[in-house]
């Protein structure tokens, strides 16, 4: 079914050479699609937490595939096995491929050892989105949080990942912070590896 036309036919998708990832579509095309994703999910839930969870699930499946794709294409079938390595992989490589730029910042949480934060002044998915007042703290960045969780989980770093708006002084729009809280086992393993 797929691949009708003059393009060379491949019997299955794995025989097809991997694209270099340079192809682009217009930002509006993505924004329209993303807005449909959010709107559809809104019809399936009765509360904000549920909506965020569903967006995160959608993101998760993207993240799992992104990890596989990037390890295969950019890293010669290797993946990071250490905590800081995988975090900087998400912050730079993944971000650069998906959003065209390195994330604005990657910080370690000050209060908890197991928390890390990736912040972005203007997250691509939030670009054309404003949240109605009655939806409180809802952040469509949940989708991106899901992508991050998908990448981390598939690489063997289970974590809870959430997206939050953080007001910035002198700025009209708040920035989005992706909060990553690693599972206990990850930190134990890190400590053992030294």
């Amino acid at each position: 079914m797929i691949g009708v036309g003059k393009i060379k036919q491949y019997s299955n998708v794995l025989d097809k050479p991997l694209s270099k990832g340079k192809q682009e579509v217009s930002l509006s095309a993505f924004a329209f699609l993303f807005s449909e994703l959010v709107q559809y999910n809104q019809t399936q839930v009765d509360n904000i937490a549920e909506l965020e969870r569903r967006l995160e699930d959608a993101g998760y499946s993207v993240g799992a595939r992104v990890l596989e794709l990037l390890c295969h294409r950019d890293k010669g079938n290797r993946r990071e096995t250490r905590l800081l390595g995988i975090l900087s992989f998400v912050h730079s490589t993944v971000w650069k491929v998906l959003f065209g730029k390195v994330a604005d910042s990657l910080e370690k949480g000050t209060e908890h050892e197991d928390e890390y934060m990736i912040s972005e002044k203007e997250l691509l998915v939030n670009r054309f989105i404003s949240i109605p007042k009655d939806m409180g703290t809802f952040n469509c960045g949940a989708f991106v949080a899901g992508i991050v969780r998908g990448v981390l989980d598939s690489a063997g770093f289970p974590a809870v990942v959430t997206a939050h708006f953080v007001p910035v002084e002198g700025q009209l729009r708040p920035r989005t912070t992706i909060l990553i809280k690693f599972a206990e086992e990850v930190l134990r393993r890190e400590a053992r590896l030294g």
């Binding site: 009708v4 499946s61 992104v66």
Partner: protein, 165 residues
């Protein structure tokens, strides 16, 4: 007011903000997967994808008209060409080919040779009735409806859209 010259799909696409096609492809994949999980029946999924496309189409036509400066198409042949060469190009970065005209000139196919939606995609046997790219149908339908052209559309395969007047 002097008429503004229509712009080519290529020119609009290269001056627009763009994102990586893989993010787009994988996000679309996530949507389709979610629909299959929620709705279970492929026919329902096809319907929902078409509806989503329609919602996009009715909004997208504004941007299309604002950026492309195309004037009203005189006939269906021209409409099909504009969709294929300007519409698809300015949003997806790829153009379609218009073929399979019937004798009356009321039916044609748009064929996308390089469809960003289907990268990495292979349908399992359980999803054979799924029109994976049904969203494109909806988009074209929604957009055309806004500029009031009569039509009816069918998808034959994932890269093949048939338009009937």
């Amino acid at each position: 007011m002097p008429a503004v010259a229509p712009r080519s799909g290529e020119a609009i696409f290269s001056s627009a903000e763009r994102v990586n096609a893989e993010l787009f492809t994988l996000t679309y994949g996530a949507i389709v997967r979610q629909l299959i999980t929620d709705l279970e029946e492929v026919d329902e999924v096809n319907k929902q994808l078409d509806q989503m496309g329609y919602n996009i189409g009715v909004r997208l036509i504004d941007e299309f008209l604002a950026k492309s400066n195309v004037s009203r198409c005189v006939d269906f042949k021209e409409t099909a060409e504009v969709i294929a060469k300007v519409g698809f190009k300015m949003f997806l970065g790829v153009s379609a080919t218009v073929t399979n005209w019937d004798a009356e000139g009321t039916t044609c196919s748009l064929v996308l040779e390089d469809n960003p939606l289907v990268d990495f995609v292979e349908l399992p046997d359980t999803c054979q009735g799924l029109h994976y790219c049904n969203v494109l149908n909806g988009v074209v339908r929604g957009a055309l409806e806004m500029v009031s052209t009569c039509y009816l559309m069918l998808v034959l395969s994932s890269c093949h859209i048939i338009i009937l007047v």
